[in-house]
Symmetry: C2
Subunit: 257 residues, 2 copies
DNA sequence: CGTCTCATTGACACGAATCAACCATTGTGG
DNA sequence: CCACAATGGTTGATTCGTGTCAATGAGACG
């Protein structure tokens, strides 16, 4: 709802070499994000044209896919994992301004220079298209262009939703909203892995590590969530979590303890 | 840079009846935003098709053009004035999440329901297109679709830029950034009208009226700006304003007084 | 002149940042 | 296998910025 397109990584089952390219064609047929990526509306001939233009790539957690300020050489669809958009301010601090999960799309900028860096937050599978070839395709395939518009417009709405949180919400509300997001994105309801470290959550939520940590313990103490070994959590009281995520400068009457 | 597409209204010279429709055709030729709206890339036949599909409308300051939650019946290009996107939270509070000025475009959502209300902040001239007819046109005219993508992608970038401010910046930095924006958008360097009230600025910047007011007086006391009769201002020290708008939790070493 | 709206200014409270220890987990080398 | 450091997380004490509450001021309008 607030985040770009958070979805947990396919539990990176196994070895991931830093950058391995996969071959070209026909793979789209059994792609896991075939139905929700920009290619969703394409017919077979369109898909094949797109597949021919792009390539897949597997990147390791932490890897920088593109640097802010660089010329954008490719546009990207995320097949699995989470990629973050990072803004570097003039004083050198970094701020996560977007999270892109499976099915998400990045790269269509207003200018050719990247306004944000792209950093893999988890191991990730990507689908890359050189910008020039991609533009040729979007001109030829209205369905593809429409897919891009839909994605970008959706990102814009989510970005604006999150703006409201950043502008007005209390620390509790922000953290609760994040947890609710993570829970929504996770198929398993019982054991949800934190897709971001505390530092990354803090960064994205406009808070500090300490504050995020404190809010998490408050949520735990109130019986809203349970935290397992610091890396996973479980939602015990979804109703409370949702109301904490929504309004309230703290929870007051809503549910709370 | 941070805002959606702020540009000051054409100093609403004269009478504005709440809603006056203008006739249909040929008017695009001498439209003031012809070169920077979504129609920028269209040839004459495209422009004519677009003109035939849409109509212009003049709305008065304060008027609500669309309500959050409603079905989006039209998409809109702003010809002059400023339109705000307003998010209403579940507790009833409102938050301005975007400002759209001359040449800007709104309405392309991911779903058909409006996620935000549209409110005219000043008297404004609009160009309205029924969504269905507009979609037919975007399918037929790749250049139009491309114009939409460019606009939306630009808005997304600006929205993310502003997210950084909302998440991390001090009150001083936010207000300075707004002032810098207003100054950039205004042709006249000496006397710049505040396009938003203090309350609207506060709302958009995630602050309170009082804090905005205090930061403005601090800027004045430091000799960065001069305020005339509360409705206009003048930038005395552009360098200081820019550095205050950028980093710093207050200005400290940067320039300041 | 009174009223209404919007803006400014001040006193104070409170939430989150900051500074600072300390704890838990993981990985490394002897 | 255990000491060890390195990384990431939690918790506490304190500071500081901004929100809140409250009063006053300035234009605009009838």
């Amino acid at each position: 709802m607030y985040l770009e397109t958070i979805e947990l990584p396919t539990q990176s089952a196994g070895e991931v070499d830093a950058t391995s390219d996969l071959p070209g064609e026909g793979r789209c047929a059994h792609c896991s994000v075939r139905e929700r990526a920009i290619c969703a509306g394409l017919d077979d001939s369109g898909i094949n044209a797109l597949a021919a233009a792009g390539r897949t790539r597997r990147v390791a957690k932490g890897q920088v896919l593109a640097w802010q300020g660089e010329q954008a050489s490719t546009v990207t669809t995320v097949r699995s994992g989470i990629v973050s958009l990072v803004a570097t301010s003039s004083d050198g601090t970094e701020h996560i301004v977007g999270l892109v999960g499976a099915g998400g799309f990045v790269g269509q900028g207003s200018s050719s220079a990247m306004r944000f860096s792209l950093v893999a937050l988890t191991d990730a599978d990507l689908c890359l298209f050189p910008v020039q070839r991609f533009e040729v395709l979007t001109d030829r395939l209205p369905a593809l262009q429409k897919g891009v518009v839909t994605k970008v417009a959706g990102d814009l709405e989510r970005s604006r939703d999150w703006m409201v949180k950043l502008g007005r919400a209390s620390a509790m509300e922000r953290v609760a909203a994040l947890m609710a997001q993570f829970a929504d994105a996770c198929p398993d309801d019982r054991l949800i892995p934190f897709p971001l470290t505390r530092g990354q959550m803090a960064n994205f939520a406009g808070l500090t590590i300490e504050t995020v940590s404190r809010q998490l313990t408050r949520l735990r103490d109130r019986g809203v969530i349970e935290i397992h070994r610091r890396t996973h959590f479980e939602v015990l009281d979804r109703r409370s979590l949702n109301s904490l995520a929504d309004l309230s400068s703290d929870g007051g009457y809503a549910t709370a303890n």
